[in-house]
Amino acid sequence: MRENTVLILIKTNYTLYIILLIIALLLFSILNISLGSVNIPFKEVVQSLLGNEDMKQTSYYIIRDYRVPKAITAMLVGSGLSVSGLLMQTLFRNPLAGPFVLGISSGASLGVALLVLGTSFLGANIAAIAFSNYGLAIASSLGAFIVLLAVMIVAQKVRNTMSILIIGLMFGSITSAIISVLAYFSSAEQLQQYLFWSFGSLGNLSWNELILFLIIYILGMLLVVILIKPLNTLLLGENYAKSMGVNIKKTRNITLIATALLTGIITAFSGPIAFVGLAVPHIAKILFKTSNHKILLPVTLIIGAIVMLISDIIAQIPNSEYTLPINAITSLFGAPLVIWLLIRKQKVIL
């Protein structure tokens, strides 16, 4: 009897916290949409969201075609990266693993670097395509895909999961070395272009691009749902997981594919956004003091979305013309958090 009440209590507590998180998510998304470089009264914001076209045209378009897609992008980016980070931390049983350990961000960077820094060798026509939104997205997806493919092929040959982590890091080193060489031979203008991409951005997506983003995101998340059970078992280590009938190789591959889909599409549209994927799973673990992925996954997802919305609000510097690079904001928050975690907790827990 006592056991049942305790169990129910824990359960309801989790549900309560998750409901609170969802409310916070809603509040922050409304706040995110309300704030921006142009000051739009809250009443107009609400009316635009409700689809009332009678109001001032510009406000309506700013809300509908710029701020709402940006808020949705922020949520997809934050939640996708955070969930990927959680997957990687559990798979590699390493609290410092993040969504980019598979070399996806370095691959994407290489793709963009080749396009932007390498266009001096190409004609003007190609250069024009290169600097369009799609050009960057395609280049970064291709780069991410090729490096990821290389990591996956090598990963099939190693039995030790830890080796994959190191292989990913090594590929990262190789790509950043190539980028350094390219940068050395590039003009200031090209370097600036590349630098701007590497700052990350949430605001450039049209509704069509957003729909593509959403489809891939949902595919990735569906795989994540299948992974909840084997990931919980993997908490006991690979040998115990094996003894309980978990197919380690299959679990590993599904995890890698889910992470690749999520981080690949995010990097393609928003650039290499750092630290969210590493830091948010730890925030979730500290707040909820659990390793159970059934709770940890939804919580990480929601907190990731909230963190990205807040980062975006800060980056916008409400009512000013300036926008700070989103990547700087996430790192400014992320790095101190990771340091604080390591100092506060003697033991970082999965």
Binding site: E3, V6, R93, V225, I226, I228, K229, N232, T233, L235, L236, G237, N239, Y240, K242, S243, M244, G245, V246, N247, K285, K289, T290, S291, N292, K294, K347, V348, I349, L350
Partner: protein, 258 residues
């Protein structure tokens, strides 16, 4: 006769790309009814390798292993997980699981894709907690447990798995003498009252002699098995362990250190 476990002409070891590294071979043994078995032998002789091979974590190099008359290579990993559970020497990676959650993971081969537990699962877990007497700590975090408590929890997890065979790799390695005896008593009780076949690899010779129904002895070129009494009578323990500094007194069943 429904044989629980049968090992035929087994060779165990490691496979590398170029060759096979055989650690032990010519292992023959049959277990017909639930027993507490202790696997004895010096360090590095292949006890852990044998346990890993029996649970299919490692490949069979030669020979055959049958569990309930079916060769283990014909079992899917889920099917085998319902026949053999393990308690390993390695401590699990640090995490935030509670004792209850960890034991519940022992049911995952029975649950659906999302791991939803039925009443049967909950009852099996409750039973495992009851027989290992860990009710008081079931809501504690794994990280907070003493070594003795931790081993009982891992045994409870194996029990929740509801398998006829449980393999334990040096389950009492880090424990004080009281905890050691308690664990052996518990395992003995499980084999008699719950009809489990329990195979323990161990260096606890004294406890093994006292509690085990059967002994399996591994040495450089020999594998021997038999009931504990016969093994003692036929001087096989002396052959395995006696050196200048250790002798075995058959009458008192004591090892003597010089």
């Amino acid at each position: 006769m429904n044989k629980i476990l049968k090992i035929e002409n087994l060779s165990i070891g490691y496979v590398t790309k170029k060759n096979q590294n055989v650690i032990a071979s010519n292992i023959h043994v049959t277990v017909n009814e639930p027993k507490l078995i202790c696997l004895l032998g010096k360090n590095g002789i292949g006890k852990s390798t044998l346990l890993r091979t029996l649970s299919k974590m490692q490949l069979v190099l030669k020979g055959k292993i049958y569990i309930e008359n079916k060769e283990i290579k014909d079992y899917t990993s889920i099917q085998l997980a319902k026949k053999v559970s393990v308690v390993l020497t390695e401590r699990i990676p640090p995490n935030n699981l509670t004792v209850y959650e960890l034991i519940a993971l022992g049911r995952q081969m029975y649950t659906n894709w999302i791991g939803k537990m039925t009443i049967k699962d909950v009852l099996k877990i409750a039973k495992a907690i009851e027989v290992t007497k860990i009710d008081a700590i079931k809501n504690n975090k794994i990280e907070e447990l003493s070594d003795g408590q931790y081993q009982k929890v891992m045994i409870a997890r194996a029990l929740a798995q509801d398998t006829p065979i449980i393999l334990l790799d040096e389950p009492t390695a880090h424990l004080d003498i009281n905890n050691k005896v308690e664990i052996y008593k518990l395992l003995k009780e499980l084999s008699t009252k719950q009809n489990k076949t329990i195979l323990i690899s161990s260096h606890e010779l004294q406890l093994a002699i006292q509690f085990a129904d059967n002994l399996w002895l591994m040495s450089e070129n020999k594998f021997a098995s038999g009931d504990t009494k016969t093994i003692i009578e036929t001087n096989q323990l002396q052959d395995l362990f006696e050196t200048k500094s250790v002798t075995f007194d058959k009458k008192t069943k004591q090892f003597l250190y010089h």
